[in-house]
Symmetry: C2
Subunit: 626 residues, 2 copies
């Protein structure tokens, strides 16, 4: 870890630090040590957050920072490696958060000459940052403040440059809605954990970027060869066609048959009308295919609505998760309304998962009689009522009425405010609303959710062993050995999200440290990166650093859990009928496998082994009671 | 009129005839006689319609034609002269219709080499026409069929060329909604009379065009001089700032004080909350300024909504008429909702005037107890209920429910179907919903509306004498001499809309035959055009030809009227309190001044004097009973 990085092959070598309070920008050299130890993307952000965000700060205060990072392969010809990462202390969960976005923004940021942007402070008045290669300007955003993301985009690109790329917040972010997303010019989102609210709290409407540079590659020929192989492998990939034709949506119905896609706020009654989520039905809505920079998969599908009250909409797009969060979990099989809800979320700048889960929470409270019309501003919250669902999306984004304002705080906080046992129906983990996976149906996946460093995220702990049977098939109901698998997928994803590789390709084992090391070395020429083992180590290092951040914020064993319903109520439907989630056994194994203590803290030994000596020191000093 | 046109200065010299039935396009030479007699734009279309659309055809049948035309000044440096005209037999009124749109489409069409496009027949399946200079293609529109205009635009420009320009129909046009508009890529519309339904009936989703040519100017220097003077005059124009800063909306409140902007479906009770329409309030919503090709006025305003349930919208824009049709006439002073309604109309492709007036009609029927909830699909139609208004816009566009489907037929037809005296509350003239003018408050303006060749249109008969006092001030309540004024403004507008000049500049006398002849001659070199008197003659010729078309379709004296309410109920509010509309006297004068007979038919003498000999022959033969 002490070797020199000889040149900035693969990287641009610059970090842009944006101080909103003083309206100053500073270009800092990219530190070799940071590169060697953390590679890029998610690794960079985890390190910056650990170093620069003291424990206990208010995530919506100027003290919070927003790190937007790219990786050494961003903007290169490597396929599926050009996403960008937003990292921040989450206003939704109060802990570490990483949220990844797609489209073309990441590549463009790199082309402008920056591997990373660190946004800090708070602007006095609404601003946006216009990065035009070396020229960086703070621009007045008063005009676009209040606009939805699409309207704002058109204004911003008009005011800067037509082909520029942007990340933008909508009214939800401005309104400090805790589940607010960042949305790109092409309607991709970094949504989880409330990054939109962080931008909103900083009076930052958008970052617009245009670049004319390219990363210099260490060994173009070797990289070219590897990419050729990658493309070849894509062509032989058994799921390539699925993703190419229907994106993540090819799996919606399959998920339901696995016992996921949990209907009725995880009550898991059979979902009437679930046939509408079959791939052939969903495919009938698709009229277009969109992708990210440098990715032949083009998994973004444009859905067209031609019937019912939402006719006229064409939007990219509800993903699997969104079909659930505005579909299954709400007992709603009206696809048209799900597309409409997805569109509203993108326009307002909302996380579709968290928004849908929050509405499901309120719907179950209403069903159970815990809340009534006086608390819902007259709305009758019913399973499968599409109009009410869309109305609630709007109310959350705009903080309209009692219930809109309440759910805008996120499910966990809303449950705390409501009291009366509402927490039982709040389907979150560490404050982050759960995704379309039921821990009872797949134990390794459940363990990943329970221990996720950002809370209940499928993305960072996706158990490909259980779900796809890759790299090898395992029984989803078995508890034994699942800690190892959870660690495996967590570390692997952490490593790959430094590239920044797309999680889909990691999930399907198209990207893994073996392949990654090859392209990474070809691009950067950094010796350590040649060794897949080193990438695994970096992955584990990142995961532990993220956990250390959380521990420093007060996270411990009791937070590594899932909603109580999943621990106590047996799964009512096949194939996981009768299953509960065996948290204690799984967690015990997990801490052992991770080398953490019984409170869930990384041990000094583990941290030192991972090269995180200072982290060990600080954790000892600050987080661990004597 | 017999002189040769020596060259195609100012014109491109080509007409594109698009036969959708046989998927064939033919380029026809622009006829010199057509140019000499009808100049361009509205004149061209009036002549084509007269020649090619036999009486009695169904406007939604393949027999109808859609003429899209430009003028000799389109795409030149002359200011405010690049609009485009859509002409067709109206499915709403069953008579002649002309509808004018702005933006950049007209100039682009001309740059592609065409002065006019004549669309005929009906495509078997949804298509769009892609005009790329000389290359014209029929392209499959199955994908974009069903999409709102904005979504469709993005698809179409992706599939053709990014900088291309387009006219598009939305779901309303596809659904053959009789008040459906054509919408441009930049959200301008040719809206009146249902041109969107004509395109829909032809399975024509859009015309997309990209051009690289320019009209050759006869005398560049002279034209340059004239345009310099024009720009100078604009700068000194007392209303330039008004239009530049607030578009037509600077006049909204003023109109109300004139006795126009008739509230509550022309019941003309005082409008509670009308102060919200004051210019300074409206200006507070404006965040952007847009314009048409070659126009420094940039009267298009982008309105931003930052509060209430429609927050997040930024849209160009409700004009004066729309503030009325979704505002005053509905007793609605919620500006935010008017912006939202305007946006919905543009997305669905609806005429904002007709849509709002149709909803006002239904609202008054509901108020009077003529219809009830069983006929409104459960909706309670109330004055000033913004949510219900927006719901009705959607239902009309999508033909949802009984009332949506009924109003989609237009107010006149809906009243006929409802019966029970509903016609009394149907504020249309010859089937075209009325604009924000009350004939009782300005008699010349009323006469213009009553005699409009397309029905109740403010645009083609705008009485600048009464409203602005230009070219000279006259008392609006006086009946005497108003026939002459009505003829004056009608002929002048007809002449100027051949350029195609923007009506705003004609209304304000910034454009008139004196100025027009100067630039027209400089651009074309056609001797006749030098003489303003000739332009007046052409204007009168066009008006009479349009009237002849209507007469051939059965229009006669009894149709030259206004809703009975305006003839019998005295105006209840100042400044026109106590006034009624004195139709008989006005009409008698008008026919005399026009040289028409007592049935409202142009006489043979008049037609021959105007050079419309064949028209006289056909009218004698077909339309006039012996």
């Amino acid at each position: 870890m002490k070797k020199k990085v000889d040149s900035w092959f693969g990287y641009m070598g610059q970090v842009l630090r944006v101080d909103l309070t003083h309206r100053k920008c500073r270009v800092e050299p990219l530190q070799k040590e940071l590169v060697e130890n953390f590679i890029g993307g998610r690794g960079f952000g985890a390190k910056i957050l650990w170093d620069e965000i003291p424990a206990g700060i208010d995530p919506l205060s100027p003290e919070n920072k927003l790190v937007i990072s790219t990786g050494p392969l961003t903007g290169t010809k490597v396929q599926s490696a050009s996403r960008w990462v937003a990292q921040f202390k989450s206003p939704l969960t109060g802990i570490y958060c990483r949220s990844v976005g797609g489209g073309y923004f990441g590549a463009e940021l790199k082309f402008a000459g920056y591997d990373m942007v660190i946004v800090e402070g708070k602007a006095e008045r609404p601003v946006y940052v216009w990065i035009d290669d070396d020229k960086v300007e703070f621009k007045n955003a008063t005009k676009v403040w209040g606009m939805n993301t699409l309207a704002a985009r058109d204004f911003l690109l008009e005011e800067t440059e037509k082909g520029a790329r942007a990340i933008i917040v909508g009214p939800a972010g401005e309104n400090l809605v805790k589940v607010a997303a960042i949305v790109t010019d092409d309607s991709r989102t970094a949504a989880r954990g409330g990054p939109g609210a962080v931008m909103g709290s900083k009076n930052l409407k958008a970052i617009v970027v245009k670049g004319s540079k390219k990363p210099v590659i260490y060994n173009e020929e070797a990289l070219g060869e590897a990419v050729k192989e990658q493309i070849q492998a894509y062509r032989q990939w058994s799921h390539f066609k699925d993703f190419h034709e229907l994106g993540t949506d090819h799996a919606v119905y399959l998920w339901y048959t696995f016992g996921h896609f949990p209907p009725y706020n995880f009550q898991q009654r059979e979902l009437a009308g679930v046939e509408r989520f079959r791939p052939e039905v969903l495919a009938s809505y698709v009229v277009g295919h969109k992708g990210c920079y440098g990715c032949m998969v083009r998994c973004g599908k444009v859905f067209k609505v031609t019937k019912g009250p939402y006719a006229g909409i064409a939007w990219e797009f509800p993903e699997l998760e969104t079909h659930w969060s505005f579909g299954g979990i709400l007992g709603n099989c009206n696809i048209e309304s799900i597309i409409a809800a997805n569109m509203l979320c993108d326009l307002y700048g909302l996380d579709t998962i968290s928004t849908g889960v929050a509405i499901a929470f309120a719907t179950e409270l209403y069903e159970k009689g815990i809340i009534g019309k006086s608390e819902t501003d007259g709305l009758e919250l019913k399973w499968g009522d599409a109009e009410v669902m869309l109305e609630m999306v709007k109310r959350i984004a705009l903080r309209m009425g009692n219930m809109g304002n309440l759910l805008a705080e996120g499910t966990k906080r809303a449950a705390e405010i409501i009291g009366r046992g509402a927490e039982k129906y709040a389907m979150h983990i560490k404050g982050l609303e759960m995704p379309a996976y039921d821990p009872r149906a797949m134990k390794g996946q459940g363990l990943g959710l329970a221990t996720g460093t950002i809370g209940g995220s499928h993305a960072i702990s996706w158990n490909k062993f259980e779900i796809l049977g890759v790299p090898k098939k395992v029984d989803p109901f078995i508890v034994e050995g699942k800690a190892e698998l959870a660690k495996y997928v967590q570390d692997e994803m952490a490593a790959c999200e430094t590239a920044v590789f797309c999680k889909l390709t990691v999930n399907h084992n198209m990207t893994n440290p073996n392949f990654y090391s090859k392209v990474l070395y070809s691009a950067t020429g950094i010796e350590e990166f040649k060794d897949p083992k080193y990438l695994w180590l970096v992955g584990e290092r990142i995961w532990n650093l993220e956990r250390a951040f959380d521990v420093r914020e007060g996270i411990e064993r009791k937070h590594d859990t899932v909603p109580v319903r999943l621990l106590k109520e047996a799964m009512p439907r096949a194939p996981a009928k009768g299953q509960i989630f065996e948290l204690d056994k799984l967690l015990k194994d997990y801490y052992r496998v991770r080398g953490w203590d019984e409170r869930g803290s990384p041990t000094k030994k583990k941290l030192v082994e991972l090269g995180l000596v200072e982290v060990a020191g600080e954790l000892e000093k600050k987080a661990l009671p004597t």
